[in-house]
């Protein structure tokens, strides 16, 4: 009885210390984001003065939405958000279709050349995007594009460049070796009897893909969508290289606007960063279980 009681108190202390430690770690991971949100409501002078103490994290003083108003004046915020939404949504949608079709072909169907193609696709894992970015820049600057606006205005049918378009931000990122790999893994684990039965019933391979495989594969579609969403929303290097016109720029490139014009207005920057971060954070927090499971499943099987 006595021993049990002591053990109980010891456990209580241990749990208390564990939670304390977990909270301290939590603060370490949270503080820059808290600082960003709190600062976005403060005037510049106060913001810079507060960073020399813990007041940096306290919402007090002359709080207002002025920074947000100024940020919207300085940068076409809604335009940039719209651009990022378009580019991200279209890329994710097409990546689901194209990669799942390839995954289906490479796992379910039996055809000559299949293992060779699968081998080549797996081998491309080792090629980081950074190593092809430079030659790819030259490729897209030389690729022909049918541009009907150019046709109506100048009487010229073909504009010899992909630069400054939406599709230059989308098309190179649709096919992904890693997404194909995830689909192949998932589809291979589906029972083959299912397909045989459907074949006997006279279903075509396309119908099997569309009506049998896709409805059964919600989790892997969610994983691929989440894994492709994040890098697309956060695109930075590629749009800097290929998009010069303001109407087509995504949100991350907009950050540079605040540093270009001599006086750096930190409050406005914090407001802009908050605006472009909150949607992702909200998305993440509402789907956090799916997010974390996606990342986890990519690792365990890989």
């Amino acid at each position: 009885m006595f021993a049990e009681n002591r053990l109980g108190r010891f456990n209580g202390l241990r749990i208390f210390l564990t939670y304390g430690f977990l909270c301290v770690l939590g603060l370490i991971f949270l503080f820059p984001i808290v600082f960003m949100i709190v600062s976005s409501f403060k005037p510049d002078l106060q913001l810079l003065r507060d960073t020399n103490s813990l007041l940096a994290f306290v919402p007090y003083g002359d709080l207002s939405l002025n920074n947000y108003r100024e940020a919207f004046i300085r940068v076409p915020v809604l335009r940039f958000i719209f651009n990022s939404l378009i580019v991200t949504a279209v890329t994710v949608l097409f990546s689901l279709i194209v990669n799942s079709m390839a995954g289906f072909a490479l796992s379910v169907l039996r055809w000559k050349g299949r293992s060779l193609i699968l081998g080549v696709i797996i081998a491309t894992f080792i090629v980081p995007f950074e190593t092809v970015a430079i030659p790819l820049l030259l490729v897209v600057s030389k690729l022909p594009m049918l541009d009907f606006m150019a046709f109506t205005e100048g009487g010229e049918l073909i504009r010899w460049s992909w630069m400054n378009t939406y599709h230059v931000q989308i098309i190179p990122f649709i096919a992904s070796a890693f997404s194909i790999f995830l689909f192949v893994q998932f589809f291979s684990a589906l029972p083959r009897d299912l397909f045989e039965a459907a074949r006997i019933d006279g279903a075509s391979w396309w119908q099997i893909y569309r009506n049998v495989v896709v409805p059964l594969s919600g989790p892997v579609f969610a994983t691929v969508a989440i894994l492709n969403f994040l890098p697309m929303w956060n695109q930075y290097l590629w749009p800097i290289m290929v998009v010069q016109s303001e109407e087509l720029r995504p949100i991350m490139v907009g950050v540079a606007y605040f540093f270009q014009l001599g006086d750096v207005a930190w409050g406005e920057i914090m407001a802009y960063l908050t605006i472009i971060t909150l949607p992702v954070l909200a998305f993440f927090l509402s789907l956090q279980r799916a997010f974390i499971e996606s990342i986890a499943s990519s690792g365990v099987k890989g």
Partner: protein, 357 residues
């Protein structure tokens, strides 16, 4: 159409969009990088592109050493000292510019030097900035890979406990992963700032003012370390989740068996947990390594590669030359070098982590 032919046809048809896209935007540009690296291709140029052989790689990789003696006063025969009492050395440009005695040093730049007391051993490179970038990238990877991998494992063990609300902590630790690196890099400039930066304030708060603030990113001695700290902070949650998934594949009966046979917690980890994490370990190792070598956004935003090139990296240089200076050929040469480096490291890791049986 018979059934086998139909399957053959559908296989190619359904795989072809992905195959064509990967060919056009990954595989062909990859081989083009090899091709361009032997030319003088530029993004926009009035002159035709020419084949230049190994000239780009020569410029990229040429290293020489030179031992120089301190300056001796000709009358007294003693060393000429500077204000701090250190020996002085002749200027390097005496050797690298139009010196017929040292034709192989023509046009080289100083990379770094060791002063041994008797003389100075100077390392020169044709592209000293690239050599610094290479060194920074390797240092970054050597520190980040073990540090981030092990911290992530510790975090995973911590949040793998059965405690109420543990999911909240998992979510918080993972949060920096979903925020853009561009945004986090800007925020960390505030944290590392020399005048009243958050880190300086925090350390001085903890030490009751017994700490003099420093400009973490502005000092070449601390700049790379600061970027390492921030990068580990950002990426550790990602690999925590991977480790966690690995931990949860280990059957609970194994722990029960171990504890029945009297294993303590360390022995449980050593003989049950760690062997069970082997596939996860390989995945974590390879992904952190690839990420670490591709370091680009943090230095680009936090320091622009400075101060004194102390934080520039291989990819940062590839972008600076290929895009900034529009020198596609030289940028491609750096990319090819990068690819070969990553490939060799991946093969070595593969070999070291191969299955013993």
């Amino acid at each position: 159409m018979n059934s086998r032919r139909q399957e053959q046809f559908m296989g190619w048809l359904m795989a072809s969009p992905a195959i064509l896209l990967l060919l056009a935007f990954l595989i062909i540009p990859f081989f083009m990088a090899f091709g361009f690296s032997f030319t003088n291709q530029r993004l926009i140029s009035p002159n035709p592109t020419e084949f230049v052989g190994l000239r780009n790689f020569n410029r990229l990789l040429t290293i020489r050493t030179l031992s120089i003696d301190p300056i001796v006063d000709e009358e007294t025969g003693e060393f000429v000292l500077d204000e701090d009492g250190n020996q002085t050395y002749p200027r390097l440009r005496n050797f690298t510019r139009n010196n017929p005695d040292y034709p192989e040093l023509e046009g080289l730049q100083e990379w770094f030097r060791w002063e041994t007391g008797d003389n100075a051993l100077v390392f020169l490179a044709r592209d000293a900035v690239f050599m610094k970038a290479l060194r920074n990238t390797i240092v970054f990877a050597l520190v980040v890979v073990p540090l981030q991998g092990s911290l992530a494992l510790l975090l995973a063990l911590l949040v793998n406990q059965k405690l109420q609300g543990i999911n909240i902590f998992r979510t918080i630790y993972f949060m920096p992963v979903v925020v853009s690196m561009v945004i986090l890099s800007i925020l960390w400039r505030f944290i590392y700032d020399g005048n009243d930066g958050l880190l300086n304030s925090l350390i001085s708060f903890i030490t009751f003012g017994g700490f003099e603030g420093r400009d973490w990113l502005g000092n070449p001695n601390t700049s790379l370390g600061s970027i390492i700290g921030m990068s580990v902070w950002q990426g550790v949650g990602f690999h925590m989740v991977i480790w966690l998934a690995g931990l949860q594949t280990i059957p609970f009966v194994l722990y029960e068996a171990a504890s029945v046979s009297g294993a303590n917690r360390w022995q449980q980890f050593r003989y049950v947990t760690w062997p069970g994490l082997r596939p996860t370990f390989i995945f974590v190792l390879i992904t952190i390594t690839m990420q670490a070598f591709a370091l680009f956004i943090q230095p680009d935003i936090m320091t622009r590669g400075g101060p004194l090139d102390s934080t520039t990296t291989v990819i940062h240089q590839a972008v600076q030359r290929g895009f900034g200076k529009q020198d596609i050929a030289y940028g491609s040469a750096i990319s090819v070098f990068f690819f070969i480096m990553v490939l060799i490291v991946a093969l070595i890791q593969r070999y070291l982590t191969r299955d013993e049986d």
